[in-house]
């Protein structure tokens, strides 16, 4: 009699065990699954074709190597020395039309930054760091990273900033100046691009939940 009961219990236990894991996957959470199945992607998909039309340069920052858009070709009046042929002091006396009339610096405050924080009067074709090291215009993120170090970390890893083209390797990220105007880096407020009139109607008729 006792034996028979035991058999029932065993059967029940087995059934419970069978039913408790549903689905054919044996992972208890998505993190387990990722851990178990992860491997560097070398599949058929690639972003190369999507990136073909974009002029890109490779940057290597710490453990990260990725592509960013080339910049110098995008700056309308590059190279700077084509106009800046004389030292600044001599040019400031020039009383014709001013070249950079549209640039108003709205980046930090004047105690912290002025034109010369990033631009060097002696070397117009390059940017400069706080310690007067030259930085190529293509690698302008190095100038930004001096102050915005946490954003820089996030950008390197891929948490900050937009990507160019697709998710598949090779990775291409926008660089700082592709989204932020360096002279006025914050985003403006603006209107949303769309408004759902149907939802609004439902709301008026009190149909939404």
């Amino acid at each position: 009699m006792e034996n028979k009961n035991l058999k029932y219990y065993f059967l029940l236990l087995l059934l419970v065990a069978l039913c408790s894991c549903k689905g054919k996957e044996k992972y208890h959470s998505i993190t387990d699954k990722i851990e178990a199945k992860q491997k560097p992607y070398h599949g058929n998909l690639s972003s190369e074709e999507l990136l073909a039309d974009t002029d890109l340069i490779t940057v290597k920052e710490g453990e990260f190597t990725f592509l960013i858009p080339e910049r110098k070709g995008q700056i309308k009046s590059f190279a700077c020395i084509e106009c800046h042929s004389k030292p600044l002091e001599q040019m400031s006396s020039f009383d014709g039309k001013r070249a950079h009339w549209d640039i108003k610096l709205n980046h930090a405050n004047s105690e912290t930054m002025n034109c010369a924080t990033c631009h060097s009067p002696d070397n117009m074709n390059n940017l400069k760091t706080l310690t007067d090291q030259n930085v190529d215009f293509n690698l302008s993120y190095k100038v930004c990273a001096q102050c915005h170090s946490s954003q820089f970390e996030d950008w390197k890893g891929g948490a900050h900033g937009k990507k160019v083209a697709g998710w598949a390797p090779p990775r291409a990220s926008m660089t700082c100046v592709n989204c932020h105007n360096p002279h006025n880096p914050s985003f403006e407020t603006r209107w949303p691009v769309q408004f759902n009139t149907q939802t609004e109607l439902e709301r008026i008729e009190d149909l939404d939940h």
Partner: protein, 378 residues
């Protein structure tokens, strides 16, 4: 059985004996036998046999048979047989009259032939690659016959070693809603009902996530002071409740983690809509309409192809784009870089860096749905 594994069943390695115990012992093939019989049987059945019998009683032969067989090769009583016969005669009469009529031209006949084959095709997830290509070809031809315009539709399967995941930066989103309109344009959503997969919730700082107090249809300059924005859409759960409840298995999770719908298999019961804890699913109450000039012609069978009235749809992480290596339309449209998409299995992907280095969370994690959509802050 083992060579016929195209769908998600309860598979614990015990299915080898399937064929030996075809039905559940009570003689019925449909509807299941009453429960007391099962208990009587339990004494002499091994757990495997019992398990098989239980499965057979509930879904039975549908496990091994596909569309046509499911419809026609069914044991039934006379009454049901007559009922079905009458119905199919009516359909048949209609089809024959349209495809054999002398007044109809070749195009009309081809259209009728396509409609016939589409009507009786099987469930997409059970199709072989050739069958998938077949239905895609038919749908493209059918569109051409109806509108005179060509579309390109594909049926790419999930790529190996890919599991799609998504991260959303709530400190970056400014509420511009570029993602919402890009999604509508990309996925051919109904313009009349203004269906949208993505919702951007405007929430007040310091009050936490209160979806009932949030506004998802604001219209004023954004970002509004003292507010933050978070987007919701289908989270492509790894343990999706919507898939569990579908009575016809018209929705399922693909190997790359996308939860997809076969619009031609969906019966429109909206169980999935009720089961989804995130309001991720949408229903076509009317025939979806998109002006011909605005139709996105790069389509995928499981993605943005034109839907019909009475079926469910939802975000597919733009399957027609993501399976070609592109980012979904919302990611591409976002002007703030708040949306990050990638391959969770690739340790070098940016999404993995976000998951490992930022403080991420998911919505309603306690439900055990395991969404593949994470939120994070700077």
């Amino acid at each position: 059985m083992s060579d016929n594994k195209k769908w998600y069943t309860l598979d614990l390695g015990l299915n080898k004996k399937t064929e030996s115990s075809g039905s559940c012992g009570c003689g019925k093939t449909q509807g299941g036998c009453s429960s007391h019989k099962e208990i009587e049987k339990e004494e002499e059945l091994s757990p495997e046999d019992f398990y098989e019998a239980a499965i057979n009683a509930s879904i039975g032969e549908e496990r091994t048979r596909d569309g046509f067989e499911q419809v026609f090769d069914v044991k039934m009583d006379r009454r049901t047989a007559f009922k079905k016969l009458t119905a199919s005669l009516l359909i048949g009469a209609g089809a024959i009259s349209s495809c054999t009529s002398v007044v109809q031209d070749a195009d009309g006949k081809e259209k009728a032939q396509i409609d016939w084959e589409e009507q009786f095709k099987g469930n997409y997830k059970l199709m072989t690659d050739e069958e998938k290509q077949g239905t895609v070809d038919r749908l493209m031809r059918s569109y051409e016959l109806r509108t005179g315009k060509n579309i390109s539709m594909t049926a790419e399967n999930a790529e190996e070693d890919v599991l799609f995941g998504y991260a959303f930066n709530i400190s970056k989103c400014q509420g511009y809603m570029n993602c919402v309109s890009a999604c509508v344009e990309e996925n051919n959503q109904d313009r009349n009902s203004e269906m949208q997969y993505i919702r951007i919730h405007e929430m007040k700082d310091g009050e936490g996530f209160k979806f009932d107090k949030a506004d998802d249809n604001y219209y004023h300059e954004v970002p509004k002071e003292d507010h933050f924005y978070m987007g919701t859409q289908c989270f492509h759960c790894d343990n999706p409740p919507c898939v569990e409840v579908c009575p016809v298995q018209a929705t399922w999770k693909e190997d790359d983690g996308l939860v997809v719908i076969d619009y031609d298999w969906c019966v429109g019961c909206r169980y999935c809509m009720a089961a989804c804890p995130y309001d991720g699913r949408r229903f076509n109450w009317s025939k979806p309409e998109v002006p011909e000039a605005e139709v996105n012609k790069n389509q995928h069978y499981l993605g943005n192809r034109m839907r019909k009235k009475g079926v469910m749809e939802k975000c597919t992480f733009c399957v027609q784009r993501s399976r070609k290596g592109k980012n979904p339309a919302c990611v591409e449209a976002c002007p703030t870089g708040a949306r990050i998409f990638g391959n969770l299995l690739d340790p070098k992907s940016t999404i993995r860096w976000v998951l490992e280095n930022k403080k991420v969370f998911r919505l309603k994690e306690d439900l055990g749905t395991d969404p593949k959509f994470w939120y994070f802050m700077d």
